[in-house]
Amino acid sequence: MYHYTDFDAAFLKERNAQFRAQVERRIDGSLTEDEFKPLRLMNGLYLQLHAYMLRVAIPYGTLNSRQMDQLAMIADKYDKGYGHFTTRQNIQYNWPELRDVPDMLDALAEVNMHAIQTSGNTIRNVTADHFAGAAADEVADPRPVAELIRQWSTDHPEFQFLPRKFKVAVTGSAADRAVIKAHDIGLRIVKQGDEIGYEVIIGGGLGRTPMIGKVLYDFVPQADLLPTLEAIVSVYNLLGRRDNKYKARIKITVHENGIQDIRARVEDRLKLIRPQFGGIDQQMLARIEADFAAPTFLKGYLEPYHNAYAQDPVFRSWADTNLSAHRNPDYAIVSISLKAHGKTPGDATSRQMRLMAALAKRYGHDELRISHEQNVILPHVHKGDVPSVYYALKAEGLGTANIGLISDIIACPGMDYCALATARSIPIAQEIATRFEALKLEHDIGPLKIKISGCINACGHHHVGHIGILGLDRAGVENYQITLGGDGTEDAQIGERAGPGFSADQIVPAIERIVAAYLALRTDPSETFLTAYRRLGLAPFKAALYPEAQANAA
């Protein structure tokens, strides 16, 4: 993985020293909150409902064991012994005190990490496919180019005051695990003949006005990527609406001006700036690519895996659910569920973090990934070691076999933590998971993604959940709206709103009615919820959701 250069280390050291002085000046009263707020936000520090919250970037979701251990140390020393992994491959600490934050940032810098541009109207943490470098279906590892974009966008002088925040995601596979069509810019590595290039998608986003991104270019050659990105963000910087916060994202700019107009403007801009890119970025990319060279895969015995699979039905169930195909057939990608039934989605204790770090070091070529679905991945585990990994995980409450199933729920922090939230998300996720665990239906239901947001900003990606839940405040009471048929993959689709919302104590029974309808309507167990929904449409699910309306109409 990428190793900081002396330049990176010096930059971070200086930036952290600046922030330390800014915190001191805030505490001694020299800075007002109005003056301090933009400074703390530039360094990932929010003031939430009960406390400060520090959002730390995990660039393209990649960590090594030393970094994960340090995250655990920070959780113990400065927080309440846990961290929350988010839908943007960040980790959030919910309880730091202001005076401790500079020390936390210094501790992060020791392991090449920071919280820069995890907030504010800047280019945010660049996210990527969490199976990057390991997936069997990959054209190329998306992380080197994601790192190049991180370096280009960090402290980019032109892009520190964009009209609104700006999110970039990259995938190297045709199967989109990075939700690239719901990002301001989504990039997919593609091949034309032997040449590597990028499909460039812009103007996707969820939130108040959900939009699926539009293809700006089918193929941008590698050397033209950064100039193209710079041209796009530059056009948006000038054209994006600053008069209305709700219309300030690039999705609205693209929608209002049309993709052709935007393309023409990008091309004009590109002509102007292209000569400034003299190829240094390509030399840098080559250096970064060397850092991301694949590990030396081991040859080993597969018997332990086959034996455990044959003899232990609990292991078999977990292996069937939580393992994915690795590009090396002797290896597996291990998804560690942070969704134990009844627990908070995305939370890991410091003990759990240390265990995952130790397993990565011993069995996983020292690599970990954080997925946007709030789970942790060990991308490179030799199959012979998988049983050892599983039994160790199970002992720490990390052996839940539910990846991609109904209890593998994305949930934003919601009103339990977030100052913007209009309703809670976490307890709804906990109750749904607990309920379906009690029904023992989860594996029979099969692949089903529930995504919950506690406000219209949609951090919980509810629009692209097969079942999406949006928590709102209706006259001082929590109310939950359901959308159906959303999809965050390469076939991205915004879910359809099912009808009136449900109260907090009615939402779980409502989800149960949808699932019961699906089980009754599917042609056979191989027809997934999403496939069935696409075949049948909203009507039968709506009828199941609102039986009274049916009765009244009859």
Partner: protein, 98 residues
């Protein structure tokens, strides 16, 4: 007709710890039960202005509605209930302090 004035408390977050705090008659408290209940609109505005001036100690001052149980203020809106108690997934925040 303007809405009748309902009882309020001045609330904010503490600058250093970030904790939810309430203005009492003698300073700031972390316990809503100890907060000064404001029943007169002009007085409430004045107390809010006084609180907001303490920029080296508090952040994000505003007036929050409360109901009275006897003489004790309790939250009206569920958001204020969470602020007064802490998150619902862990016994963290005020629920572990009081």
């Amino acid at each position: 007709m303007p809405k009748p004035f309902t009882p309020k408390v001045v609330t904010a977050n503490a600058l250093r710890e970030g904790d939810v705090i309430y203005q009492s008659t003698t300073g700031w408290t972390r316990d809503l039960a100890q907060a000064e209940v404001l029943t007169d609109p002009a007085h409430a505005d004045l107390r809010e202005i006084e609180a907001a001036a303490q920029t080296s100690h508090v952040v994000g001052v505003y007036l929050a509605d409360v109901a009275l149980e006897g003489t004790t203020p309790v939250p009206v809106h569920f958001r204020e209930a969470f602020r007064a108690k802490g998150p619902s997934n862990y016994a963290h925040g005020k629920q572990e302090q009081f």
